[in-house]
Symmetry: C2
Subunit: 443 residues, 2 copies
């Protein structure tokens, strides 16, 4: 009887837990779900006989290590910055592990020790990163097997609200870690354009978003982190254009750009006495003194970047409101903004979220230049059974299952760019409706 330990039972873990509990019936597994809020873990297990809920404060090293020691596989659903402690324990006790997060430097540094212990540290096993790697890599491997060269690879993904559930001016509701929504893009993005490395700093990232048409829908897309590193990961040294982008409804980026350049995502300066300050007064902190009203001040700073649509979006986030900030009582602007967004951009119980992924390739094969588009979209059932929880949870669940069944003979730090991982993963995802539609044409 194998034991799988899931650390963190938050919104992204719902469908992962369901999936593994289901599989546990076939393979006689025990699924231990831990959270600092044990009631949350209990709810997610829903009295399944193979499930067990445990309270775990991740900083309780003794209990954490005890639980890891008693497990055969560990899945960390913690915020990305907390994976390393878990990974170090896993290496120490010879336990394999999986996360849906980007490989951090500290994770990468564990590669050699993990190989020595013959354990695997799966990462980037979610939607994006995750399904994007698997589906793109399958196409790239096929092009290469036919002797082709990949010249352009652009990959876009968004965790959005479904059009039928969209009732706010942002076209956005929060379906995953709200802190990550606030801090998104908060480093210089890197991509390749016409063979040249391009760097885009945070303050221009949203301003220089591109408009992109997918399946009759128009999106904004902003460059996502470091795309350059995937030239090696995808084994496409021949590529001339590579960009990974994040999708938002058209108009999102123009307004978010104002929030970023105002400074409202600042996470360095704690502001006191927030119960005595209104949202508008908070925003006015970032604006010059003067007699004009707040919108006139915004126009003074940002000129024609402030239009009616932007004003409507900012108003929806209460930025012009005289209401006092209730929560937090002391905190950074990023924390205030997160709290507003959790309230104003919350999925209602019956709301459906929407994940969209779109790859665009240009490649050369036998002297012919071709384009290939590959696309999937998926909608959640409701605010608990979200497409986000599904598309993050299934790649983790499926890959962990395959590993425990001995079907993935790998060790060390791994992402789903190898056929051993992606073939089984993409096949099983189809059973859950995650099916890529392809369109190929000559250029």
């Amino acid at each position: 009887m194998k034991t799988i330990l899931i650390i963190g039972a938050g919104r992204s873990a719902t469908i992962l837990i369901d999936y593994l509990l289901k599989q546990s019936e076939l393979f006689n597994w025990k699924i231990v779900v831990t959270d600092s809020n044990v009631e949350l873990a209990k709810t997610k297990i829903n009295q399944h006989p193979n499930g067990m809920a445990e309270e775990l404060d991740i900083f309780d090293v003794k209990k954490r290590q005890q639980l890891i020691k008693q497990s055969d596989f560990v899945i960390s659903m913690l915020p990305a910055s907390m994976h390393t402690e878990v990974a170090e324990d896993c290496v120490a006790f010879g336990k394999s592990m999986a996360t849906a997060s980007y490989v951090s430097d500290s994770m990468r540094n564990l590669d050699r020790s993990a190989r020595e212990k013959n354990i695997v540290l799966f990462n980037e096993l979610g939607l994006d990163p995750g399904i994007d790697h698997a589906s793109a890599m399958k196409i790239i491997d096929e092009i290469h097997q036919q002797g082709g060269k990949v010249l352009t690879f652009k990959s876009y993904c968004g965790g959005l609200v479904a059009p039928e559930s969209n009732d706010n001016p942002w076209g956005y509701k929060i379906s995953w870690n709200p802190r990550n929504v606030v801090m998104a893009g908060n480093s210089t993005a890197e991509y390749l354009s016409n063979g040249k490395i391009k760097l885009l700093p945070y303050q221009r990232l949203f301003e220089q978003a591109e408009t992109i048409q997918i399946d009759n829908f128009t999106f904004d897309a902003y460059a996502n982190r470091n795309s350059i590193q995937y030239i090696n990961a995808y084994k496409i040294p021949e590529v001339q254009n590579i960009l990974r982008g994040t999708l938002r409804y058209k108009g999102f980026c123009k307004a978010w750009n104002i929030i970023v350049n105002l400074g409202l995502t600042d996470d360095s300066i704690a502001i006191d006495n927030l119960e005595n300050i209104s949202y508008k007064e908070w925003v006015e902190m970032f604006l010059p003194s003067g007699e004009e009203n707040i919108i006139e001040k915004l126009k003074r700073i940002f000129n024609n970047r402030i239009d009616e649509d932007v004003v409507e979006k900012l108003r929806y986030l209460k930025l012009f409101s005289d209401e006092k900030i209730q929560k937090p009582s002391k905190g950074t602007s990023a924390m205030i903004l997160q709290s507003i967004m959790e309230e104003q951009l919350k999925l209602k119980p019956e709301d459906k979220d929407w994940t969209v992924m779109y790859h665009y390739f240009e490649y050369e094969i036998k002297g012919k230049r071709m384009a290939l588009e590959s696309y999937f979209e998926d909608k959640g059932k409701d605010s608990i059974h979200t497409s986000m929880a599904k598309t993050v949870g299934l790649p983790l669940g499926i890959t962990v299952k395959n590993y425990l069944l001995g079907k993935i003979p790998l060790s060390g730090v791994q992402i789903p760019t190898t056929p051993e991982i992606y073939q089984l993963l993409l096949n099983e995802l189809k059973e859950y409706g995650i099916i890529f539609k392809e369109k190929k044409y000559n250029l």
Copy 2:
């Protein structure tokens, strides 16, 4: 015979070393000057019988601690981030210490231990911070002693090139740590305006510089770090406006704003193979692809923020040059920019630098509203005997001397806002020509 240890013999240490060697003749002190480049230390000592040069790699803990143990007072002229190790050693061995840098959190945390050991940790004992604190605090204490209230305090300082030595479009030459010049303003600035806290993020700091007239000269002034904390340090809870600003020649900030918003001060992404990339190609990394030339691209991104004056300044920093980047061969954009500025904005041997400090007060006294302006300027002799080295070195030298002579009965972390420090300091500075001119008038 007391021993004073000076760690770091760089450009800001020249006049400090001269001053202390001179004083050593009166008080029979030994002045030990260390640097990783011992030849530099030797040059600065210039065979003075009371001077001794020692090679010291600051990461050589054993030698560092040995030298500190053998000293009576330690002056750290290292980059600000390296003071803490020295300060911890000083506390451990019961030695007093001084720096010209801002009090860091880690320095502040040593306050209690320093008091327990009855040693002093002087900080902010340079020009700005330093002379500004001393001179402003003297005025503030006088206003308070007369029963007045300080309503507005603005304090501006610049380490500039003298007009007669200015032969480049920036009106700037590097007279201190060039790394700090590149990274200046790289955090959200905080100040108080009409009783309200204002926050200004890096990406808008230079765009929102103010124009300020001092003594027939027009400057740009941008907000400097956290001015709010000085409400407590200066004991002026009544103040409605407080701003510390940095002075540059008019036009500097408009062009530097482009450099910041392009992303050229990025210090997070290392770029490889710089010997094969031209300066223009490096800048193009931060611009979109396209057929236009680099200036047209800049105009596409920044619109009317690019004018002829900005173009001339950017050109002077080689940003449009086809020359290959020679140095460094691999590095961040901040490192490339620093290397360019060290070359293009270098003080020539005969050049004079120029330090300018200007305080503006508004205060209320016996029902009358008054303004007070206090101002000094000072020019260097040449590129070695700079006003910067003088105005940074003298406050350190004078205060360390007074402390060793028993005239400053203080312990713990101290900045020059107490009369025990500033009275003696300001008096002796006059002997070196650092004399504030005051202008008082009714409002």
